[in-house]
């Protein structure tokens, strides 16, 4: 369905390039002088300001440009168009103001329509109740857009009723605006109203929009005093709502909402440190397999966090590695990758591994990870004193990151590393020396600790109780063990999994195979004809070559 679609972010999704004819102009602030479709809409709104386009007007135009996408999403039943509309919010966001939203609403909703009350409540939320609906400009715009629609062949003559997608989209814009303006209480109230409204609608094309609505709803609640982790925070109160939404989403097989609400609930529980509830939620729900990548990354992060607290480090490590890898590599989600990397580092340390130094050198992470770098250094050397001072110096940072209690568990790892270093460097060392170097309380403590380290397989050594020393065994050749084989196997498996995932992630345009079938059918027929002609003997080699090319 090729058409001239006004939108700004075709560059972001290459997969639908077949629908795009107009080359996308990336910046919404500086539109190309009104030759492309974007400019068309802007002109319709305000013809006098053709040359220097006011950002507000441009924003209104951008908003309305998205309505076409939503219309198409509904008409074609393809969520990708709605997603594209949602992605453009980040561009519109900078120019959002009550006036812009009010104008967009006023232009969209005809005054007499049944959905007038919806428009009124949207206007009330931004404090512009007095704006009249369905102004002249709006009518004019509609006519124009109709003309355009006819021209483009999408052929939707009369927009009689505003589709719910559009009003929910406007609702999301209102939410974004209220959030940016820090009107959290108002935002929460409005979100409550909006989510109630969504629940009455049962439209699959609304799915990804409603996921967004709940996201902002929960975000507003997080920012209202008393802030979490206080048990009085409103986030505790919205749990029943979210759980109900989750149930509905599961029943409707609405994967977008399902994924996003599960993630929200997990975040909600973890904010108030209800680990047990979060764990139960994970064990009783199934995270949708084909959820959006970002939701998967978030889910894996929270899952990793729960597992780390429960001392299931291997699982935690797996989840967190996946989360950091799934995090968008561009600069837009630095915060997420920082947080996930921090947790991953601590878990790696807890597992007894030393994280790669390269991790700390990435420019986007370097500063944020500095305290962790110091920590890793202390653990690597096995210096208990350094370790304690690092914790004491950075306690506030670790507490804010929520890694403090995990880091406190590291003490035993520091001791173990210390013992390992000593066992590697000395073939025989007295317990007294171990005790002094590791700053342990007493010789007896040292003896028990070393004995435990031997049992846990940290070192290969024996103790002599009468003479009070530790004797290290000869270190075996690592290559004689199964270790290299296992490491190799792990890597191969990772590569194979990557291959499988990429195959699964490939998307094919709908109904394309029918086209191919048709082509194949035609080709077969042509072949048959050719065979006939060859039989009849009136076809020479040139013809044959030409025909094959034409195929």
């Amino acid at each position: 369905m090729p058409s001239k679609t006004p939108h700004n972010n075709a560059a972001k999704d290459g997969d639908d390039s077949m629908t795009v004819v107009v080359p996308p102009s990336k910046s919404s602030k500086q539109p190309a002088p009104s030759t492309d479709a974007e400019g068309d809409v802007a002109m319709d709104v305000d013809k006098t300001e053709e040359e220097k386009v006011d950002p507000a007007v441009q924003a209104v135009a951008d908003i309305k440009a998205n309505f076409a996408l939503l219309d198409r999403a509904v008409a074609l039943f393809d969520a990708r168009f709605s997603l594209r509309a949602l992605r453009s919010i980040s561009l519109i966001r900078k120019h959002l103001s009550p006036d812009v939203i009010a104008q967009a609403i006023a232009d969209t909703f005809p005054a007499t329509s049944a959905s007038g009350s919806i428009a009124k409540s949207l206007l009330a939320a931004v404090g512009r109740e007095d704006v009249a609906l369905g102004r002249a400009a709006g009518a004019e715009m509609e006519v124009d857009s109709d003309a355009k629609a006819a021209k483009n062949g999408t052929s939707k003559k009369e927009v009689k009723e505003i589709i719910p997608e559009i009003d929910v989209f406007l609702g999301i814009l209102v939410q974004v605006y209220l959030f940016d303006a820090k009107k959290y209480q108002q935002g929460a109230d409005f979100s409550k109203y909006l989510s109630d409204r969504i629940q009455t609608l049962n439209r699959r094309t609304l799915d990804c929009l409603s996921a967004k609505v709940y996201f902002y709803f929960s975000l507003f609640c997080e920012y209202i005093v008393p802030l979490p982790p206080s048990p009085e925070s409103p986030i505790v109160a919205i749990r029943p709502t979210l759980l109900a939404v989750l149930r509905t989403a599961v029943l409707r097989k609405d994967t977008d909402t399902q994924a996003s609400v599960i993630v929200l609930l997990l975040r909600n529980y973890l904010l108030t440190s209800h680990i047990k509830q979060a764990d139960l939620l994970v064990s009783h729900t199934q995270f949708p397999e084909n959820a959006a990548n970002n939701q998967v990354a978030r889910f894996l992060y929270y899952l990793g966090r729960i597992r780390a607290i429960q001392l299931r480090y291997t699982e935690a490590h797996e989840h967190l590695t996946a989360a950091t890898r799934k995090a968008p590599s561009s600069g837009c989600a630095v915060g997420f990758s920082q947080t996930a990397t921090k947790l991953l580092l601590v878990v790696e340390l807890l597992m007894g591994d030393i994280p790669d130094r390269a991790t700390f050198r990435q420019p986007s992470l370097e500063d944020a990870l500095h305290p962790y770098f110091l920590l890793v250094r202390a653990v690597r050397v096995g210096n208990l004193e350094d370790f304690e001072t690092t914790i004491a110096d950075n306690a506030d940072i670790f507490k804010r990151d929520g890694t403090y209690t995990l880091i406190l568990r590291l003490r035993q790892n520091v001791i173990k590393t210390g013992i390992r270093m000593m066992s590697l460097s000395y073939s025989r060392i007295s317990l007294r020396d171990i005790c002094i170097r590791l700053h342990l309380g007493s010789e007896e403590s040292a003896e028990y600790i070393v004995a435990k380290a031997i049992r846990d397989g940290v070192i290969e050594a024996t103790l002599d109780r009468e003479k009070g020393f530790m004797k290290s065994k000869e270190v075996g050749d690592v290559y004689a063990t199964r270790e290299p084989g296992e490491a190799f196997h792990d890597r191969i498996r990772a590569c194979l999994a990557l291959h499988d995932e990429s195959v699964k992630a490939m998307r094919f345009p709908m109904n394309q195979h029918r086209l191919e079938l048709k082509n194949a059918q035609e080709a077969r027929e042509r072949e048959r004809e050719m065979a006939k002609e060859i039989q009849e003997g009136d076809l020479d080699d040139d013809d044959l070559g030409g025909d094959l090319d034409g195929m």
Partner: protein, 272 residues
């Protein structure tokens, strides 16, 4: 009327902690019946705060009595019932920190002795964030105790654990209930690490190593673990087991390599 009866029962329970468990539980069930009639078994928004405080106290007393009677199940039940009360905002129900921490500390210790480390740490995490994250868990008399014990157990400073279980270090009587369990636990921990760490041990020093009272106890313990006692030394039977393991290991490894290689071949086939 009814709540006066309740406070009387509570006063009675508090005055005589030595009361036998059957007696106490009879009183407790009476108290719970009163709570039921007042509709205050679980906190609801409409419950008046003095009733909430009474209900909380009932459960706390119940928890303490059941731990004194070493009834872990009953104790866990009381702790679960207390959770909603502890979650209440301080405006509705002013918190009674010493009692709350005492009960929470006990429940932590219970998790520790039962080896439920995952739950122990989940609980600890929520404690660290309680009251807006300002709570000093380690500094608290009741809460710090299980936290320290866990750390020492993890790093292997068993002698410190041993010292901490001496009566002077235990924060209150109820905590010593767990000492016996913990003693056995660390003894078996020490025994299993000694098996790997020492080629042999003289009996005399094993006594102090395992915190046993006499050499006779040592020999009994050694028999129980299946150790050999010869000429005043203890030998650990482990060399025989390792030899047979080696054969299995080699066989395992070659089979594993074959399986892996076949797997790669199959995967390659699907890709190419």
């Amino acid at each position: 009327m009814a709540d006066r009866g309740l406070s009387q029962i509570l006063a009675q329970l508090k005055q005589s902690p030595q009361m036998s468990y059957p007696e106490a539980s009879a009183l407790l069930s009476k108290a719970k019946l009163i709570l039921l009639s007042l509709n205050a078994l679980t906190p609801t928004p409409s419950t008046p705060s003095n009733l909430l405080a009474l209900a909380r106290e009932t459960y706390e007393q119940g928890a303490l009595f059941s731990i004194r009677a070493k009834n872990a199940d009953a104790f866990t039940r009381y702790v679960q019932q207390l959770q909603p009360f502890y979650e209440l905002p301080s405006a509705t129900l002013p918190p009674n920190l010493p009692e709350r921490n005492r009960v929470t500390g006990l429940s932590l210790l219970l998790l520790l002795t039962q080896g439920r480390y995952a739950e122990f740490h989940s609980e600890l995490e929520s404690l660290a964030n309680r009251d807006g994250g300002g709570a000093d868990v380690e500094g608290d008399r009741y809460l710090g105790y299980p936290v320290r014990l866990e750390r020492w157990l993890m790093e292997g400073s068993y002698d410190r654990v041993w010292k901490a279980m001496k009566s002077s270090e235990v924060p209150c009587d109820e905590y010593s209930v767990f000492s016996e369990i913990l003693k056995n636990q660390i003894r078996s921990e020490i025994a299993s690490s000694s098996e790997r760490a020492y080629p042999s041990l003289p009996i005399s020093s094993t006594k102090s190593l395992l915190f046993l009272n006499s050499e006779g106890d040592v020999i009994q313990f050694a028999k129980h673990r299946g150790w050999l006692v010869k000429e005043g030394h203890i030998y650990f039977p482990n060399t025989a087991a390792e030899g047979s393991e080696d054969g299995v290991y080699v066989k395992d490894m070659s089979q594993m390599i074959m399986e892996n290689t076949l797997g790669y071949a199959r995967e390659l086939e699907t890709i190419v």
